[in-house]
Amino acid sequence: MTKSMKNSNNFIESRRSFLKGSAYSLAGATLATGVFQTIADTPAHATHQFTSTPKSLSFYPPLKSWDSFTQLDGNDWKRGGTGRNGIKSEKNPDGIEATEYMLVPTACSNCEASCGLTAWVDLSTYKAGGGLAVRKYMGNPLHAGSRGRNCAKGYASQSQMYDPDRIPFPLMRASGSKRGEGKWVRTTWDEAMSTIGKKMHDTLKSGDEISRKSIMYHVGRPNENGFGHRVPHSMGCDGYDSHTNICSAGAREGTIQWANDDRNSPDWSNAKLIFLQSSHAADAGHYFQQAAGRIAEARKKGAKLVVMDPRLSNSAGMADLWVPCWPGTETALYLYLANRILNEKDSNGNDLVNHAFVKNWVNWDRLMADKKYLALLVEKGYIKSVPREDSYEAFIEMIAQMYSPYTLEFVAQECRIEKRIVEKLYDLFIDAGASVATYIWRAGSIGHKGGWMIARSAFLPFVLRGAMAGDKGGIGLHHWHVISVNGKGNAATEHGTKPPKVDVWNEIAWPPEYPLSTYEMSHIMPHLLLDDEWRAKWNAKGLNVPKKLAVWIPRMYNPVWINPDGFRWIEALKREDKIELSFNLSPTWSETNWYCDFILPVGLAGERHDQHSEATQPSRWLSFRNPALRVALEKMGWTPKDPTRATLEAHIKAGLGEVWEEVEFWANIMVHHVDPDGSLGVRKHWASKEDPRRAVTIAEWYQAAFDTLPNLKKEAKKCYPDAKYPNYEMMRDRGTWLEEDNIYKPQERPLHKEGSRYIAHGHHYEADEVEQDAFGTLLVDDPVHGGKKAIGIEIDGEIMEGFHTLSKKLEFYSEWFAQWKWPEYAIPIYPTTPEGRKQMTHIVTQVHHDFMQKDNEFALNTVFRLPYNIHTRSVNSKHLMEISQNHNPVWINTQDAKRLGIKRGEAIKVTITDTVSGLDSGYFIAMAVPTEGTMPGVLACSHHAGRWKLKNAVEIPGFEQKLGVMGLGAPLYEMTMDGKVGTLKPTQGLNEGMQERRESWQFKAFNKDLDNIWWDGLSGSWQNAVAPSHPDPIAGNHAWHQKVVIEKAQKGDKIGDIYVNYENNMKVYKAWRDQLTRPLDTTDRLRRPVHMKRPAVPLSAKAYAVKLTK
């Protein structure tokens, strides 16, 4: 008996007699639930290798059994396992089915996190004469990042693989039809490569500047590290567009200014405070599943969680503190924290600033030495006078004064947060010391004009507290924790080294208005292509802007749907004079495919090769994606006819369809079609060193690529001593690798020195070539761009590697940014008055509450993901589609809804209106749900829903069955567009659409449950089309959030309807461009600061050079 029982005297005293006295009238049998089988009548079992249940839930087949592991059928577990029924055999037909699997490691390819997976390939069915298929995907327990865990999207890889509407072979727009008519014919990979390759060859053949700007590889979520970059690079083209400017370019701008790094990289597990800006990291997005697991670990150890988000996300709902901040005003809150850190003391009377870190690792010295800039700060009213001294103490005193206006009163008013919440946030922040982890990425920084300043300011309080030192429990930087070798198979090619730098600058991706944009201006690609006036203006100034693209190649990308101003995209894609040829390397149907010339089906998670790594923790791990069916076939002895096309051949043999992968595709098309005779200088970068007559193979490529990782190479050699390609084979068998663990404070590593030579980034510098400037920075000549570049820094007498910046320190003062025309924003700053907000409009959100004057005017928060969807590629996964149904209404605060008389489930008309130009863009009709989960004045509706299609299925000549189009994810719509106005109206839900073409369902054995579709998919609207492009004048990203006006829907309006004045949208884009940017001018000699990395394609000094005429 327990102690607590002994103390519960009342129970003892109240003891009653249950057994004495009269019998109960009830029989026990009428009452009992009856969950026990009576004494089991168990048949005798043959001896077998199974336990009736694994000994623990963490059981996983050991690596040595992965090539053959026999498992009991999942459906039979309920019957009690083999313990009761034995193994199924001829003699024991009622026994439990056992299946032999090969576990092929791979990695999820849905979101960016790259969690490890194993594909369970069914060998039993195959050996019995059936097809070869993946029965399920599970987590890969060897994966250092995901540790065997996955979210719903990972497990859904199987339903994506056997999608009933999977594109089974390459499709080509029917001859004589126009783009968008939906007339398709089957083609082969060879025919497609021949046509496309010839067009690319003919384009490059001229060799002029324009030819190098006329092929554009437009990549959606890459989920690999560097291979895609190599495609245009190897052709000498400045022709890479990423999706980053609708994704994360704002946050990157702020991080680049501090650290010249792409993003930060937190150590969640060891933090005392997890500070999330938006639902990103713990709900969905970068790097959801892995981050959430590590955040949970930290919380288990006592860490607190703060979520700053206008919306009560899942993370906010379980946080210690939810900070609903008016979207776009987050900067004010961060500067408030800075103010208190600088101007207050802790309970012992000590400074809150971590002086040891700030004094050594922040470039305060350069700011204090720049008297001209300090005078500008005085002129702008940021500080009262130029400090008399240059000392660190004078710097601290100066910024303490500068940030003092960011008071509790101000921030409560500006951010519309209750004061008690602000104060609580501050207390939590201070209590955690330097152990505060954050990931500044989404929502604020991509939602707003000046969103980048949110990221820039966000890091300030973290810097002041020492949390940015990259130490345990704090915040590190991306490039410390990531591995990028997917494009580094050069040694396997005939050429043997990387292609030379590219000599041209492509204005379609990098227009002169946006020299500091962190990534390509891809979201305005159609606007630029269609804007003759703009092109003429810049050509007149001496540029050579292309008027068209010869070949446009989206890769797993759906810009028509996911980018703003979708009708403008359709207009551009339809124009064969502007985009002469287009093809999408796409695993699924998409809205964009509809307007392309070719759809070339490429593989999903378990159907392709990629090296993929992400900075999810203070270590460097990588995933290796494998095509599971190919690997299984090869391990069973199958050999392809052509080893350079093994993945395609394997998929055809296994019955998956003519599904290929990019690595093999690009190597083949380059060698055999783009440059068959090598005259363009492209072929040698893709032909095999072993046999230059053919393309490089996967094993050759990855053997070379992984050879650049010393620890991986060593282990592979040890484990596969007799293998020809040990690196490849080890990664094929394991699917993941941890190259380096526990990476903390690498900036403090001594700069490598051998004898008299310093070694930095693989280059050797004699000590007498190295000079040291007045601030301790070690400088060498820059052989590419001229001038000097930094390789190290002296701190307290030690020469260290330092940060990645020009000063080798974190840059509170961004000197180069000031020189590049934006001096007033070269330090973290934010206006504190209405007048100031007008003057500093570049860093004030377009949805500021200043603009909300009427009762029905709102800020629309669009930038949050549904945790179980991923933009484009999850569209037809039945599992993900089912659980996401009806999950994306317009959230409206209950008080706002009450005031406007809006009830739950009612349709509302949401009209988008621009606060820069004053123009309306049109409206979408959506369902309203009043909730306390969004702050007053702010609506929320994720822009990741509202898929559409114009045909339920397409007929392919020569094929009996139609090919279904996105049957599980997109309802049928009717579209109109006339060059100025576009509309979309839903005409059929997807359940009805699927049932009327049952004969078209592919992979029937995997899709028996399609009769159970209950959802019609009609709950979303294509709001992205209504949204105009809002290019941020500095970071270049689309500022997603919108000012909207709402009213109840009228008779005839249906949820899903949209009406878009896309003529106005073009004007909105131009207003943002012309009123807000500071373009290149005649004084500029460079297109962009050379230290600010141009992602993807490396460029020569010639490409960077510019000289404009008036």
Binding site: M1, F11, L19, G28
Partner: protein, 215 residues
């Protein structure tokens, strides 16, 4: 033996009643049966005297009161599983490592988890129903006048209470009584605890009295 036959009948009924109460939501039939037996009803005094039982429709009582309470006590708020209370890490062990399941297996009992709608066979309702099954078996042994079998079953029941139910159920039941929001589950928790303690004493005495020679 004769007295034991009378007692076993009541033990069977009581274990059936409390296991049923703890395992699934009540239904019309169960409430009807319970209320038809004055003696049983007397063990649930607050429930018996509760006004709402007489003034509110039974269907409403079930949907708005009893089922809400059940959900709170057995599904959401409290954790009615032995392994939660007895394991250091407070994890529910649903696999073969669970000693309760091993015991069931050793005695050739199988829990149909899908029928029970519980995640593990060491749920309080299942353990109570296991006692009910042992009592039924003992009843058969008594009818067959199998003295050795009776003693063996008494020993098994005694050991199961001592090593399992009484190791944790009191803590759960005290919590359940405190957390309950209806007289039905309040009294049910109290009844169950009282009965388990009383039954343990009964088994100890009976074993000493009748089975020392057999042992």
């Amino acid at each position: 033996m004769k007295q034991m036959k009378q007692e076993i009948q009541n033990r069977v009924t009581l274990y059936a009643l409390i296991s049923r109460l703890m395992l699934v939501e009540v239904d019309e039939l169960f409430l009807e049966q319970l209320e038809s037996d004055e003696v049983l009803l007397s063990f649930l005094p607050n429930y018996r005297d509760w006004d709402k039982r007489k003034t509110v429709k039974r269907e409403t009582l079930m949907t708005a009161y009893y089922n809400v309470d059940f959900t709170n006590l057995f599904l959401m708020h409290l954790v009615p599983y032995e392994s939660f209370y007895t394991r250091e890490d407070q994890m529910i062990e649903s696999g073969g490592e669970n000693p309760v399941i091993a015991l069931y297996n050793d005695l050739d009992f199988r829990v149909e988890l899908d029928r029970a709608r519980v995640v593990s066979a060491d749920h309080i309702g299942v353990e109570l129903e296991f006692m009910y099954m042992l009592c039924l078996a003992m009843q058969k042994a008594l009818e067959a006048e199998d003295r050795e079998g009776v003693c063996e079953l008494l020993a098994v029941q005694h050991a199961f209470l001592k090593e399992h139910l009484l190791q944790w159920a009191p803590m759960f039941l005290i919590n359940a009584k405190r957390e309950s929001r209806t007289p039905l589950y309040h009294d049910g928790a109290e009844l169950t605890l009282d009965f388990l303690l009383s039954d343990y004493e009964y088994l100890t005495d009976t074993l000493a009295q009748h089975c020392s020679a057999v042992a």
